[in-house]
Amino acid sequence: MDLYIRDLSEENLVFMQETSKKYTIPPRDREEWKMIVTGEIKHYFKNFVLQMKSNEYKRKIENGTLTPDEATDDLYQLCEKYAIAVQNDFKIIFKEW
């Protein structure tokens, strides 16, 4: 199977836009967000950045340099930007949204 990857033709852009619509993240008020940053949810993230960031949030909350709300806001913003990349992990944690 050949994948032609950098084709930015109009047809391809339409495909990308339609594909991207499938990917959303859970609402900010779901309690699991806070449980991720505080470490209450024990999950080894497949996504490398989420794994690193979740450890960083937990560490910073424990040493008082970040509040759970600040950490949750930061994580939510990051996941909004990279919605596609977090789907696999979030299906395990949030199940559905």
Partner: protein, 338 residues
């Protein structure tokens, strides 16, 4: 075999590469020093890597061609910068609001060690992907002291102790996504700790007892094609064996080991080369818009990629960069609509 064609990511001759540079293209290049040193100034960065795996057939050690990734069409802006060991921590703060940072470091130098130790604590490091590779050389020359080089194309200058970065800006509706394919997991069979930071280990603690690591590897017939694994900031990170130094009874690694951290062996698989190739091709086949990939030199060597194709092309690097220093991984950069 399934193949993956990444447009504008290919092995080219010197004249074609010079033509692309002169036409203003934004490039990341890998090649031997003898060809990279002939490139004119322009919008490019590069690193010495003369090993390539190829979609069309067996890969090769090639000192005449250059592996070129042309990012021009994907970007709306880009800038090239050189960093030293004192300011590399600012790499995530520079660049653009939306894009990626492509970093090339020289192998086994202070800046390589510093990056490996400190990258997880760099500010703003996860806002945009930080990817890239560690430059290398012909292994016969590298093991006898030849230095890798990185190039700032804007001045066509080469460096042995500094880093070069392409800060890339993407269109507003697109985001870059870095993916890391790693088949290794910690076995927890032994616990290894070193006494000082560095790429070379002589004595160390193995399960709490002082041992010479070289002797331990020999006595236990450890398979050095499998890396050590450690937890760096929550993520499992490989540290690959470069070679056993018989003369000095020491072990040399592709990434530094750090005092205070615990390392263990990685789990054996039935056929790691197949496991790796299958996992990588599966990951690629599910993607739509990949613009770059690279693979570790050890996957090239142990996977005998000089004898067969694995369905896609790239440079075989002396370490990969995926937000932090990686070893024995396959990394790629994909573009998604945001």
């Amino acid at each position: 075999m399934k193949t993956v064609d990444i447009k504008n990511h290919q092995l080219l001759d010197l004249d074609t590469t010079i033509g692309l540079i002169k036409s203003g293209k934004t490039l990341v290049v890998s090649g031997d020093e003898q060809v990279l040193s002939k490139l004119p100034a322009g919008n490019w960065i590069g690193g010495t890597i003369p090993y390539f795996y190829l979609k069309e057939g067996p890969g090769r050690l090639d000192k005449e061609h250059i592996f070129v990734t042309d990012f021009t069409d994907a970007l709306v802006d880009a800038k090239v910068a050189t960093y030293n060991v004192n300011n590399l921590q600012k790499v995530g703060e520079n660049g653009f609001d939306n894009g990626f940072h492509f970093l090339i470091l020289p192998a086994l130098r202070d800046i390589h060690l510093s990056f490996a130790l400190n990258a997880p604590d760099y500010s703003n490091i996860y806002t945009n992907p930080l990817l890239g590779f560690i430059a290398g050389a012909d292994l016969d020359e590298f093991t006898t002291g030849s230095l890798s080089k990185v190039y700032n194309g804007q001045t066509a200058q080469a460096f042995t102790d500094e880093a070069v970065v392409l800060h890339a800006k993407l269109p507003a509706r697109q985001v870059a996504r870095l993916e890391i394919v790693n088949v290794f997991e910690p076995s927890n069979e032994i616990s290894l700790e070193v006494f000082q930071d560095g790429f070379t280990v002589q004595d160390c603690l193995i399960d709490g007892q002082r041992r010479n690591l070289y002797e331990f590897v020999k006595e236990n017939a450890l398979d050095v094609s499998y890396p050590l694994v450690s937890n760096y900031g929550g993520a499992s990170v490989n540290v690959s064996f470069q070679r056993l130094d018989d003369e000095n009874q020491q072990v040399i690694f592709y990434a530094p080991l750090f005092a205070g951290r615990k390392y263990t062996l990685s789990k054996k698989t039935d056929d790691y080369v197949k496991a790796f190739a299958d996992k990588a091709i599966q990951a690629l086949a599910e993607e739509q818009h990949i613009i770059y990939n690279c693979n570790c030199i050890l996957n090239y060597l142990y996977g005998k990629l000089d004898q067969h194709s694995i369905g896609y092309s790239g440079a075989a690097t002396f370490g990969e960069i995926g937000y932090q220093l990686l070893n024995q991984t396959f990394t790629y950069l994909a573009i998604d609509e945001s």
